[in-house]
Amino acid sequence: MRAKNSSSASANRTTAASTLGQTLLGALLAVGVSAPSWADRFNMPVGVTDISRQVYDLHMLIFYICCVIGGGVFGVMIWSMLHHRKSHGVEPATWHESTKVELAWTIIPVFILIGMAVPATKVLVQMYDTGGEDMAIEVRGYQWKWEYKYLDDDRNKAFGFMSNLSTPQDEIQEVTAKGEHYLLEVDEPLRIPVNRKVRFLVTSNDVIHAWWVPDFGIKRDAVPGMMNDLWAIVEEPGIYRGQCTELCGKDHGFMPIVVEAMPEDEYDAWYESRKILAKEQEKLASMNFTHEELMEQGAEVYSKYCASCHQENGKGIPPVFPALDGSAIATGPVDDHIGIILNGKPGSAMQAFSSQLRPDEIGAVTHYERHAWGNNTDDIVQPIDVVNLMNKEG
């Protein structure tokens, strides 16, 4: 689940993975072949935080204790099954109780359990020590994407963005070959610095989701109307991947979490530039653009988000993906056109883009669709039209 920037081993592993699975035998063999990834595939990741390592140690400790007890119990059982057989002419014993033995196997396990509870309690207490953070990020679950907001006491410095699954539908529907990070890739990952205490405030906008990054050793439910907090100090730069782990409806399996841990100076530089970009993007919603500017931005958005279904030439793939060239919607009332892009069309493949695209992007792409190909309406669609419609709909 984890790929270090500089690690070629992990790349090999996942390539191996994608070619695997043709046959059972092939699969089994390959697991053995790709040695560096062996533990990752069978076991919990050791992870890259102090907490995740402690959790891993705890997990292994309990596992070994279980193995010892299981080995003992099953060993006695199997020995008995081999030797105490009627076919060997064994006469059954008649005893059926022993207070001493029964007391022993009631009391001894209690001490073993105490031996497990002590380290578990220690780790748990550390996990709850959320104070003294260097920065806080709000993590908000949506059906079916995550929103990350970098909090700041000064509202003007805070910003956020959506993180959507970026695996193309064609890969999911078996049209094209699957990429290396199939279902574990997003359009914009959460970026955090290494070696700083980052506090995550987890909540939800609709149903219950759960935010989990295995390599950080943290998972918490995102509950609507309630906030949870988690923290992590990541020690190694890299890209860490996780998934939503609470059933949240249709696309529960399609809302991955990708976190990029960056060296501190790189992060600081990224943070400053991303903040400026966010402010600029915000301003765009209230700006007016010329026909040429709208067509240029619209074409860009169109090929990124729309063209895979409606095609670059606007002809679509009827009947599933309708043509936009000459369509009633793309040449009809502007509000209906914007509305369908904002809210999607229930029961069809058309998604709602209201939370995936900014108003200026929706405005531009609407404008583009109304003027590209054979379409030639005489209106100009500005971002403010989109904002107004969003506000009106409620």
Partner: protein
């Protein structure tokens, strides 16, 4: 085989009743009472749960209006607590909703005020309800609100913007390991389940009576005196 396996050649009517047959009625009554009792207990879990939340801060639920003695407020200058605010209009709620500041630093025992700004951009009269949640949970019972918009639902006219004050005191007894508190408000649309006419009437009355809806000056970074304006 023993006698117990006697051939069953008597008719059922002559079979002696099992010794305890008459006890069935009483037992069934007792067990039915248990069933009814447990069904009621299921519902009793609701108030029990709320009580438990109040006591333990489960789910970060904060308490109701805090009554305090202004004279007894003694800010603990040795500690400075970071209090952050997270606001959000939940799914299907078109209002914009934000605190004026993303966070403030306070001394325990100090009265502090923060403004939240809410705007109804739609062309309909709408009612909203803010639901608070606070982390870490063990700080919830030490976070006292003396005034909060979350105590009641808010009604906004089309296009109306409102400044809603929230005043709080972080208790001096706040556990030592808590250095930062995050308070989240999720704003829900409860128009459908509200009586707008009644709420409007109440609102007009309360505004006339109190006339305190003016924006609190929070630019002053020092603690508000409890006897101060508002």
């Amino acid at each position: 085989m023993t006698d117990a396996q006697a051939p069953v050649d008597e008719s059922m009517t002559t079979t002696p009743l099992p010794p305890a047959h008459n006890a069935h009625g009483a037992l069934v009554k007792k067990l039915s009472a248990l069933v009814v009792g447990m069904f009621a207990f299921g519902f009793a879990l609701v108030p029990l749960y709320d009580l438990l939340c109040d006591i333990t801060g489960l789910n970060g639920k904060t308490g109701g209006k805090y009554e305090y003695d202004a004279a007894a407020l003694m800010p603990d200058k040795s500690r400075l607590i970071q209090v952050s605010f997270v606001t959000n209009a939940n799914e299907g709620m078109p209002w914009s909703f934000e605190s004026e500041k993303g966070g403030v630093r306070v001394h325990p025992g100090e009265l502090k005020a923060v403004n939240f700004i809410v705007r109804n951009p739609t062309d309909k009269v709408m009612v909203g309800q803010a639901v608070p949640s606070l982390v870490p949970f063990n700080a919830a019972q030490y976070f006292h609100k003396t005034e909060c918009f979350c105590f009641e639902s808010q009604i906004l006219q089309p296009g109306e913007e409102m400044v809603m004050p929230m005043r709080f005191i972080v208790d001096r007894d706040l556990p030592k390991n808590v250095q930062s508190i995050s308070l989240s408000y999720a704003l829900y649309d409860i128009t459908e389940r509200s009586d707008i006419a009644l709420l409007s009437k109440e609102l007009v009355e309360s505004r006339a009576a109190a006339n305190t809806n003016s924006k609190i000056d929070t630019n002053d970074s020092t603690a508000l005196e409890p006897s101060g304006n508002g």
